[in-house]
Subunit: 293 residues, 4 copies
């Protein structure tokens, strides 16, 4: 028998996720979206929790699950809904998927013998989202400059997932890309992927050459001293999660444009980001032998 899903709360990513699950043949309820947000058709949109007449196999909570530690994160709904109330919507042995559960919400589920699974902690989710992040960063770079990307001297700090995707996408442009990293193996990846490469510790002597810098390293590499070495027209795009990798105050003081872009997939490509969550959930279910497919 077809598994039933309840997508409760979240932004456009979760409206798209609900649609994606339905496209793949799942039976899907949604809750916590004002009318018009979730595509009608195959999805069963609930006005409120009361309207749910059965228990579902899988509850899907947003990313993050909750902003206040109590209620579901529901930006597309005027009402509020404590996460706790959703427990009753799950079958015994049901699972609660969510992104970044707080400890107390996790414990609340555990106390009711409900397993919680954080899809946002999965490696493939990070890989798929890295592509959306890289595209979003490039879009901002295009918008913020009066030149083409082609022909620019671009520095990418770090060589993790997002940096690798930036390198890949920039391969279609005619840009001069340098990767700065600490680890020798990261510099080797930069080399075999056709980039110039430089050790972080040697960065200062070259910083004045770049017109666009993407930081992906979760450390303040571009501190005040380094920012002073930049060309005044340089655009700095920080993709590092908090606390970020750029001293924004000094940048502002120096008149250097520096933008900090967080949560890009949800902002520039919510539809793709929603599908990425769906693919990740199917992977998890597949590994547990619970895949419908």
């Amino acid at each position: 028998m077809k598994k039933k899903y309840l997508v409760a709360g979240g932004d456009l990513r979760f409206a798209r996720l609900a649609e994606y699950l339905a496209e793949k043949g799942c039976f899907v309820y949604t809750l916590g979206f004002d009318s018009g947000i979730v595509p009608s058709g195959k999805i069963h949109t609930l006005k409120n929790l009361m309207s749910l007449n059965e228990r579902v196999d899988h509850l899907i909570l947003p990313l993050p699950v909750s902003n206040d530690g109590v209620n579901v994160n529901m930006p597309y709904s005027g009402s509020t809904l404590p996460v706790e109330l959703l427990c009753a919507a799950l079958k015994e042995n049901g699972t609660a998927f969510g992104g970044r559960f707080t400890d107390n919400i996790k414990e609340m589920f555990a106390a009711r013998n409900i397993e919680t699974i954080d899809y946002s902690a999965r490696e493939e989710f990070a890989v798929l989202n890295a592509e959306a992040t890289a595209e979003g960063a490039l879009q901002v770079a295009m918008e913020e400059t009066a030149s083409t990307i082609s022909g620019q001297k671009i520095l990418i700090i770090g060589m993790g997932r997002i940096a690798k995707m930036l390198v890949h996408i920039l391969g279609g442009f005619n840009a001069d890309v340098t990767v700065a990293a600490r680890k020798c193996s990261d510099l080797a990846w930069a080399e075999v992927y056709g980039c110039k490469n430089i050790r972080i510790c040697d960065l200062s002597q070259h910083l004045g050459e770049y017109s666009i810098i993407f930081n992906t390293a979760p450390a303040v590499i571009l501190d005040g001293a380094k920012l002073r070495l930049l060309d005044k027209g340089c655009l700095v795009i920080d993709l590092a999660s908090k606390p970020g990798g750029v001293d924004f105050d000094t940048a502002a003081e120096l008149g250097i444009r520096a933008v900090w872009l967080l949560s890009l997939p949800g902002r520039v490509a919510p539809l793709t980001a929603g599908v990425n969550i769906g693919k990740t959930i199917f992977n998890i279910l597949g590994e547990r032998g619970e895949g419908d497919e």
Copy 2:
């Protein structure tokens, strides 16, 4: 002795062009820019034509040279300047470069034995600008969609310079690109560049599959009948010069987003577009044996 240039009028492209010429060692006057537009430093900014105390070798007029057939196209100046007055600024045997001279202006120069050269008619100018156009089109596609470019089914109509650049840049994205063209050789180029390809005459049966369509063909391929075959969520970007390649009225009626993007290089990448004009002028001078370099 160093050749002297007068850049008279034009938008940001021409401010950058003046700077580029100066960077390459030319002696450059500018006229027709309000203060602050042209980077100070090596450029000799003139308040008005009276301030010019010598005759120059090369006059550089904007693209288009004039909007009204009489005055220089000077969007960054509050004053007006008849093109005719500039004749006196040129040395005997000097040349007037410009983009799309009107016949009467051309004749006016000819009557004074001044050679006019249209840089915008040069093939390399079109090739260099095709890159800026393709980048700009992609930027708009990113802005107008809530998905990543990667993963989209994209149709490119035509396989000229702009289409080839789109194909090249999209190579860095993970998109499924189809080229539609009339000529067998264009379809062969699409094939060897890794795209699917389809004859224009067979287009109708596949039109519903695409989520983004770039038209580069200067003919109304996407007429009302074809637009009706599109998916309602499809984004149509028309890059064809006037009269365009899309029936925009029908598109609006059908609720299909269709945008017509003209003169993209000057709009999204004026600095690059200015350099492209500079490179083209140097090429022309080089072929005539007048290059300073």
Copy 3:
């Protein structure tokens, strides 16, 4: 009713062509191949012309049609067959396809009111074969060097079809590619495709830098004087048709490895080359409204 084809003579390309036509639903006879060359199955292999009991719609002759101006070019057969005898195999209004007809053979067909069509003169055939040529050239470069292609400084002379394909394929490698050309528009293409570019007339001052040179220009650019400027370890691959673009005698004298690669598609990728002929013939028939498809 299905059109009937007779593929008469040719090398492995034509055995594959016969198979391709059959795969596409054509009725195909072959003649002039020893047993075992043409894949059995859907193809009707003739021992000799006598065995043909009907007239066909399309005669397909090899590339070149004939080596001696009289007999069919049949490297995979021990016997000989005058082209003239094949006229009787064609229906009235039938067409004779071939690659590089000699004038006398063309006239012979014309005298019998048989139209001749040279598939090898079609632009799309040249484009499709340029890919096979570029791959073959790269294969030889890999075989002839004890280094990876990645990391090499590579010069491509010319920016025609083959050069463009080389640039495209080398995009997957981490090589430092320079294009040398005469035309400004060709140099612009090199630039937008991410290559360094240099005018032929400035070539001498840089020639010593390259480790691999591909010549695609049909003129002796690499004459004795230029060869003397090369690094002794440089590999020169000439892809120009006769008379070639390299002074091979001087190269030999200087101890510089220089290889002249002609007719690469048929040599390194006969199966692909055969399909390319088939696609071209279908294009021709399609344009004439005679396509079976």
Copy 4:
């Protein structure tokens, strides 16, 4: 003062390594190469160990260090040299670099207080060599097929370093690439790098579609049962280290071409492979603060 190196034994990679070290300003002795193998010039070629009149800082041994557990691996020398004798060539606190030390040789050095460092165990060495391996595999694929790589349906099994490099290089070709892997994150990488992807467990149903298969996974994925599902014309290239990933006996029985390519960097690109060892050694010294640079 400049550090001194002794490169003792090894194949062409080590002759090139000696040259690379000298190019970078090191003082280099070589031992164990017949005359003519090591480029003359800046390198100090020793006839035998007796000719060494001083002790060096760094001893560089080949990959593998020894084939018999006693003598240096010296394919380019007619004589033999026990590794043990080289201890006397090192200064106190000197280091012995080598590739895959046997335990007894390691202990022998340890007993003399000489540190041994295995450059072949470094991650960046594996990354750099993955590029050479991927190029070599592609070269063999080109040689073994009568079609272009473009247009082929290619399967890559595994998504480690070598597979990623294959995907990258194939990006320049117009091939249809599928990656098969077990881990969801590897499949996600395949997706964002523009490949189709399939779980190893679902492989059987698609195996008949591919014309070239590269195996990079160190497990016998292509066992007899799977080989039976392949198209008879499929080419299988196994890049897995021993025991390999293909049942070669069954392949031979079935008439399927399967080649097992080991140690490709040293075979197809010894010069690049030698430089890769040099870069790795410099990285190691740099991390230890012993870099000359």
